[in-house]
């Protein structure tokens, strides 16, 4: 352990594999002090400026903001807020080209400076040593500090680690050519950087603190040594110049001879690294309460007349900095070429409107000859130079083959994700293969695929949950139906003398609504029959009552037939000398009989308690009948359904006839009474149907003038009409439509049948009566 420090103190370090030694070009920009350009006309603050998640915008267009005012809120641990770099007005929140290789427009706050540069009230934490650590970490977070070295990982996450930190490494290596922002910062603000290190030391309490600076920055080393001489714990260490010594993992390897495990973090081996720029920002946040609103950015490249480092407010468009550094368009004859970052790891910007973000450390504007445009990629000659250059000890060639062939799993087998994208392999490649681009593409694809995998798993889960839910619902429904059926059964057993009509209803209730209508028609007909034998005194002899009822009904029908031809057809249909209609009537009659019997049974025990025997015997009789009769009734009901439908068609026609014949006065009240009993929906349907029927009736009016005149004269008509209305209004609109079509056909038939069936009428009625008496 100690020999590590001893070794470092004696100026010796270890080495990492590979690495390259490009010409550093640092003198272009590191000879002048950090300047401060004027305020730009507009600042473009990308909401997401670092790795992690974007914050929640807490200002609106038109808001006046002060310098240092938070514009977003960190709604997630992995997000840090953005602050107003100067006082002014939020003019818009709109997508704006971002400092990202894709150049995709991202949500950006646009601030128009008012020139006053007025700060908000700052709350410095000068007594930070007496504050609880979480409060300090919170202060770092709300100051919006994210790693300034290039990756932009939120600093408060890094300093909030719970693991023990053995080594705190302050990274001032700045190994990439051209970039000198950390160099200048260390030279000019070594003291404040040390203050930042003090804060980090207080929070993390590491055993050793190493400040690593590449040996091509002797002035920076000197400055830091001066600043850190008071504290013996701080070891300012010069490391040999080799790209990429500034890479976190490479630096650790160089200083401590320890390797960060694949897929792991430095903290796994007790090491934490922070950039000098981050330390400076931490000191700003703690000692003066200033959030991160500006950073040092190197403006370099031979296409700039006045290169150097500047303090750029976050959100400053590159064009403003180019003007400040006196960009010479003539030196870039093949079009403007701006590189954000260094020549090794940087990326070309798509526009000069790209704003400065927290991680922008360099703007490189090379002449055409300085950094030639990438030439056409040539075939890999398998020279293996890339493998020699790789600082992570990977096999770039294999990664290249597999990435190119989209064999992503194989690329992963070659530890693609340990690639730090330093660009050393592409730098040495004699075939100009943009190797890193291939790796980046492969990595992005793998990440997207993983995301999709997660999404697919979630979709599957949701799909299965849905299937399970549907299954559950289905079972619940079936269970409900089963219970309802059982309850019905029980009810039926408890009151065996139930109305047959109701039973019909029950038996058909499960089937389609048409069946219900048919059942309703059957009930209505039963009522009609009942209306004739209103004399219910003969309840002890229901057979007789039924007989008389049937006879009376027959008489009524016969009368109606004489007087009304149209209606006759409907009645005639009932009297069709077929087994079916007979069965229907039988069923209805039985239903009525049972109803009467049931009524009697209910009445008798209360009113005539002296005749219990009679009642019970009757009940017995009835219950004996039930089983058989039920069956018959059901069969009959099915038949009735069919008949009723046909009948309905005819009655519809009759209804229209009636309505034409000035019977509306009679019909309407009846209709209304029925309607009020119906549900709202049925009413609506009935009304619609009625309207249609009326319209149709008018058309037919002339045609059927003669018949309708007969109808209007008839007294019987006034009685039958309301009944018909009941039936009709109970029909659905759909059926009515059908009925109307059928009615036209039926009309023609009806006339022919009428005479024929009039003769048969008596013959049919008689067998029916016989059957009833049985």
């Amino acid at each position: 352990m100690h020999n590590v420090l001893e070794r470092l103190k004696s100026g010796r370090t270890w080495d990492f594999p590979g690495g390259v030694h490009p010409v550093d070009f640092k003198t272009i920009s590191n000879t002048t002090v950090i300047k401060r350009p004027s305020l730009p006309e507009c600042l473009y603050l990308t909401v997401k400026q670092h790795i992690g998640l974007e914050g929640q915008i807490i200002v609106a267009p038109g808001d006046k903001v002060l310098k240092g005012q938070a514009l977003t809120k960190n709604s997630h641990p992995l997000s840090v807020p953005v602050h107003a770099p100067t006082s002014g007005e939020v003019v818009a929140i709109a997508p704006h080209v971002s400092a990202h290789p894709s150049g995709i427009a991202e949500a950006t706050l646009q601030i128009k400076p008012d020139g006053e540069d007025k700060w908000i009230d700052l709350t410095p934490l000068t007594n930070y040593q007496s504050l609880p650590k979480p409060e300090l970490i919170e202060a770092i977070c709300s100051a919006g500090i994210a790693g300034m070295g290039g990756a932009g990982f939120p600093t408060h996450i890094k300093v909030g680690v719970q693991k023990e930190v053995e080594y705190l490494i302050i990274n001032g290596v700045e190994c990439e050519p051209y970039i000198t922002s950390d160099d200048r910062l260390m030279r000019e603000h070594a003291w404040q950087i040390r203050q930042g290190i003090d804060v980090l030391t207080h929070i993390l309490n590491p055993k050793h603190i190493i400040i690593a600076i590449e040996d091509n920055k002797p002035k920076a080393i000197e400055a830091m040594q001066v600043a850190c001489q008071e504290n013996r714990k701080y070891l300012v260490c010069s490391v040999p110049t080799k790209y990429p010594a500034g890479g976190e993992k490479q630096l650790i390897q160089m200083l401590l001879n320890k390797e960060v495990p694949s897929g792991g973090l430095p903290i796994d081996i007790g090491v934490l690294t922070h950039n000098v720029g981050t330390c400076y920002a931490i000191a700003d946040a703690v000692f003066s309460g200033k959030p991160l609103i500006e950073r040092v950015i190197t403006l370099t490249g031979k296409a700039l007349s006045k290169p150097g480092n500047v303090w750029a407010l976050l959100g400053t468009p590159m064009s403003h900095l180019l003007d400040f550094a006196e960009y010479d368009v003539k030196k870039q004859k093949r079009g403007q070429r701006l590189i954000m970052g260094g020549p090794m790891m940087g990326f070309s910007l798509r526009s000069d409107h790209v704003p400065v973000v927290k991680v922008s450390n360099c703007l490189l504007v090379p002449t055409d000859s300085e950094i030639p445009l990438t030439e056409a990629e040539q075939a890999c000659i398998r020279c293996g130079a890339c493998a020699d250059a790789c600082p992570a000890g990977l096999l770039p060639q294999q990664l290249y083959w597999h990435s190119k062939a989209k064999e992503l799993d194989k690329a992963q087998d070659y530890n693609l994700f340990d690639c730090i994208e330093c660009g050393a392999c592409a730098y040495v490649c004699p075939s100009q293969i943009p190797l890193v681009q291939y790796y980046r593409q492969a990595k992005a694809t793998i990440r997207e695929d993983e995301k999709e995998q997660i999404k697919a798993a979630k979709a599957k889960e949701r799909f299965e949950a849905r299937q399970a839910r549907l299954e559950r619902e289905k079972e619940a429904r079936e269970e409900k139906h089963r219970l309802a059926a059982e309850a019905r059964k029980k009810r039926a057993e408890a009151t065996p003398v139930k109305d047959t009509a109701d039973q019909i209803d029950d038996s058909v209730s499960e089937s389609d609504p048409k069946a219900k209508v048919a059942a309703a028609l059957a009930r209505a007909k039963a009522k009609k029959l009942q209306s004739a034998p209103s004399n219910t005194e003969s309840t002890e002899q229901p057979e007789k009552a039924q007989k008389s009822a049937a006879v009376q009904a027959a008489i009524a029908r016969a009368k109606a037939k004489k007087e009304q031809q149209a209606q006759q057809t409907a009645e005639a249909k009932e009297e069709t000398p077929s087994q079916k209609s007979a069965a229907v009537r039988a069923a209805i009659a039985r239903a009525k009989a049972k109803k009467e019997a049931a009524q009697q049974n209910l009445e008798k025990p209360t009113a005539e308690s002296n005749e219990p025997q009679d009642t019970s015997s009757q009940e017995l009789e009835v219950s004996e009948m039930t089983a058989e009769e039920k069956k018959k009734a059901r069969v009959a009901a099915a038949v009735a359904k069919a008949t009723a439908k046909k009948e309905a068609e005819r009655q519809e026609k009759e209804r229209s006839d009636n309505s034409v014949a000035g019977e509306q006065a009679h019909n309407e009240p009846a209709q209304e009474v029925e309607a009020s009993e119906m549900s709202a929906e049925e009413k609506k349907k009935a009304r619609v149907a009625a309207a249609v029927a009326k319209a149709k009736a008018k058309k037919e009016a002339e045609q059927q003038e003669k018949e309708s005149t007969d109808n209007s004269v008839s007294d019987e008509q006034s009685q039958s009409a309301p009944t018909q209305e009941v039936e009709v209004s109970e029909m659905t609109a759909e059926e009515k439509k059908k009925a109307r079509v059928a009615a036209a056909v039926a009309k023609a038939k009806a006339k022919k049948q009428a005479e024929r069936q009039a003769a048969q009428q008596n013959d049919i009625d008689n067998p029916e009566d016989k059957e009833l008496t049985e």
Partner: protein, 184 residues
């Protein structure tokens, strides 16, 4: 005599091993076909039914029973490749009869046109649409698989399938576009 002993010995061994195998078959019984599970893992789980089966799992079962592996347009070539690897068959191009590979899309309900009929909610295989009768519906974008199944039932045609917008987060380094701005 020796032959008899040998026969008996072998016979006994056979019985013993048979018993062990029989026991193992019961003890380590696999409830469902592991191949189907694996195939199901590979499928994109959009539950879109473009393959002609009512969901991804039924198609996985069909593949396990010998159906073609090129019937999944949302999975596209990558899925076909994986399925081919698993089934030990040659990767074949996507069967155009089942649709073509398309960019990822999500459903979007034009909310002012929605009449609240709930038909799309019933159609959605992953419950990614929220809403109630006669209330406006909306799609939970994160849960939408882009299966298209909600589009057809909509009586007022207020559902659009919108391609997922590319952002810096889902951007895949594009090798072909070297960003050079031409200045005349």
């Amino acid at each position: 005599m020796t032959a008899a002993i040998a026969l008996i010995a072998v016979g006994i061994l056979a019985l013993v091993f048979g018993a062990i195998l029989g026991f193992a078959a019961i003890r380590f019984k696999v409830e469902s076909d592991p191949l189907v599970d694996q195939l199901d893992e590979v499928l994109p789980q959009t539950q879109c039914g473009q393959c002609g089966y009512p969901g991804c799992r039924p198609y996985a079962e069909a593949i396990a029973n010998g159906d073609d592996i090129n019937k999944c347009p949302p999975g596209g070539e990558a899925t076909i490749k994986k399925l081919a690897d698993m089934m030990g068959v040659e990767a074949v191009p996507l069967d155009a009869a089942h649709g073509e590979e398309d960019v990822t899309k999500v459903a979007y309900i034009r909310e002012d046109e929605c009449i609240g009929c709930t038909k799309c909610i019933v159609a959605c295989p992953v419950d990614a649409i929220v809403g109630a009768t006669r209330q406006m519906h909306t799609v939970i974008t994160d849960e939408c698989t882009g299966c298209d199944l909600c589009v057809a039932p909509c009586p007022v045609d207020c559902i659009d399938m919108i391609p997922v917008k590319q952002s810096a987060q889902n951007w895949r380094w594009d090798l072909n576009s070297i960003p050079i701005k031409e200045i005349s």
